[in-house]
């Protein structure tokens, strides 16, 4: 009997989670269109309701009413199962992401690790979507998503491990409680930067949307999907974006901790602040090239995340004062920034060098001809 009651409570919790996440996705669609519009000096949606607030509803209705085409040559079973894997792994991690001290469906002592583990399974859905569509762009996109997402998973996992070392726990509640005196962004700014960038790459937001880039692989794994099937991928992408923003808030910005207001309000405020930065990045940066993306992952992000884990462990082991970690973290960030700046400005420096040599040669010719 108690088992049945437990089951009923779980079902109710999942239903509430589904409803809340659907509302969140609607709000994100509206916010993204408005924020991008403002960034590009236009208004965004204005016709549907006050401030275009009903635009996401109109979008959803349009998507569901569209014809759902299944290609003849596709492997039907894989074609059907791929969106399910993607969306289930997107929803499943929300079971243990807390929105407040007690606002969580199931409190898990290994919560952070659980989230990381099931986030990886979602990648599989993208690879299978590419394969099952029997489309060359789909397969290229699937390969790209496998390469990109596995590469960027490593920094995410390592930085999460560094935070777990600092908090001495994988329990999200304890991680937030450990940040009651100062949020971890103060001691680990390097970790925040790595986690945010790698998180963007994980969910395929715009500077890193290589695997479904329209101009390169015409939609990648999603190329043959339409109507309701495509909207499932769309839903998963927004839920994952929200999850990365929520995790950034929980791991680095002190979670629901804050003066005055209720904890859920603080959590939502911090999460939406991170989301706005995500949209800002999308509106600002052009897409990377695939080789640049992979080189950035393996030459910059992975070494830096190893450095983060090591400094967190050293800080913890020798019980150093907290500002040493801040300094070590900023040194790592500075060195990485300097190396990237040198690489970025290398062509300009080479041009300047050649011009200097040409000028010197011209001068010697001029002086030799005058004598």
């Amino acid at each position: 009997m108690s088992f049945l009651i437990n089951l009923a409570w779980s079902a109710l919790g999942l239903a509430i989670m589904f409803a809340v996440l659907s509302l969140v996705v609607l709000s994100l669609v509206w916010l993204e269109r408005k924020a991008l519009g403002r960034l590009q000096l236009r208004f965004g949606p204005t016709r549907t309701g006050k401030f275009g607030l009903l635009q996401p509803v109109a979008d959803a209705v349009k998507l569901i009413l569209k014809e759902d085409i299944v290609p003849n040559d596709s492997e039907k079973a894989i074609f059907w199962v791929a969106p399910v894997i993607v969306v289930v792994s997107a929803f499943v991690i929300w079971v243990t992401i807390p929105g407040g001290e007690n606002v969580v469906i199931k409190h898990l002592p290994l919560g952070l690790f659980y989230i990381v583990a099931f986030a990886v399974v979602g990648i599989l859905g993208l690879v299978l979507a590419g394969w099952g569509s029997a489309n060359k762009y789909g397969i290229m996109g699937g390969l790209r998503s496998a390469a990109q997402l596995i590469s960027y998973e490593i920094p995410v996992v390592l930085v999460a491990a560094a935070v777990a070392i600092l908090a001495q726990s994988l329990d999200l509640r304890e991680i937030v409680a450990a940040q009651s005196s100062y949020p971890y962004m103060v001691v680990l700014p390097l970790g925040l930067v790595i986690f945010f960038i790698a998180g963007l790459a994980e969910v395929g937001r715009t500077p890193f949307d290589i695997y479904h880039a329209e101009s390169e692989v015409v939609g990648g794994p999603f190329v043959e999907y339409s109507g309701a099937h495509w909207s499932v991928f769309f839903l998963a992408e927004y839920i994952n974006t929200f999850a990365i923003a929520a995790l950034t808030a929980l791991l680095f910005l002190g979670g629901w901790g804050g003066p005055g207001l209720p904890d859920v309000v603080w959590f939502l405020f911090k999460t939406y602040a991170v989301i706005l930065v995500v949209f800002w990045v999308r509106g600002t940066f052009p897409r990377l090239r695939i080789d640049q993306l992979m080189a950035f992952a393996w030459k910059v992000m992975v070494p830096l995340s190893f450095y983060t884990v090591i400094i967190a462990a050293v800080y913890r082991f020798y019980a150093l004062p907290w500002w040493t970690l801040t300094i070590l973290s900023l040194v790592g960030l500075g060195v990485a920034g300097w190396i990237i700046y040198r690489r970025m400005s290398a062509p300009a420096r080479r041009v300047a060098d050649i011009q200097r040599r040409l000028a010197a040669r011209r001068e010697t010719i001029a002086s030799s001809s005058s004598t």
Partner: protein, 172 residues
């Protein structure tokens, strides 16, 4: 309740494993392997080894299967002859039998399996892994390193032979 879950998980694991060897399509085989590995994670979960179950999902369910699919998609299966028989099958049979004997013996000799949650499982695991079992742990990572270097060597040799397009003399 426990038994019912165990039966489901066992069917998942063994059925997936059977599917891996029965199917002709490599991608389907990889998917069946995923089913089997997730079933194994379910077995760990039923033994209250939550951490091990999550490791299973992360490494095998996620990373390994994705890398397998990646490799399968990069190769053109039509270029290779379809092999249905292999002269090494007695060797495989011996290996499988030896493995099952060792695992069975380990199962019989092992102390009783956990039937209730063990609270400090995670920290206890870390402590024993990095102090008592530190050497086997390091050897396991050495094996992975050897595999990695071996893969690089094989890849390099192949790329140098395909790079020069000189015709190969047929033997005999």
């Amino acid at each position: 309740m426990q038994l019912a879950l165990f039966v489901i998980v066992t069917i998942l694991t063994l059925g997936g494993a059977l599917g891996v060897v029965a199917t002709r399509n490599v991608v389907h085989a990889a998917l069946f392997l995923l089913l089997s590995l997730l079933g194994a994670a379910g077995v760990y979960l039923l033994l209250f080894a939550e951490f091990l179950a999550l490791v299973q999902v992360l490494i095998y369910g996620g990373a390994v299967i994705i890398v397998v699919l990646f490799a399968v998609m990069l190769t053109r299966s039509s270029e290779y002859p379809r092999i249905t028989d292999n002269r090494q099958w007695p060797l495989a049979l011996i290996t499988a039998a030896a493995l099952s004997v060792i695992l069975g013996a380990a199962f019989w000799l092992a102390p009783d399996l956990a039937t209730e949650p063990q609270a400090p499982a995670f920290t206890g695991l870390a402590a024993s892994l990095f102090t008592k079992w530190a050497l086997p742990f390091e050897i396991a990572s050495l094996v992975l390193l050897v595999a990695l270097i071996g893969a690089i060597i094989i890849a390099r040799v192949q790329s140098s032979t395909t790079a020069d397009n000189s015709p190969v003399e047929p033997e005999g």
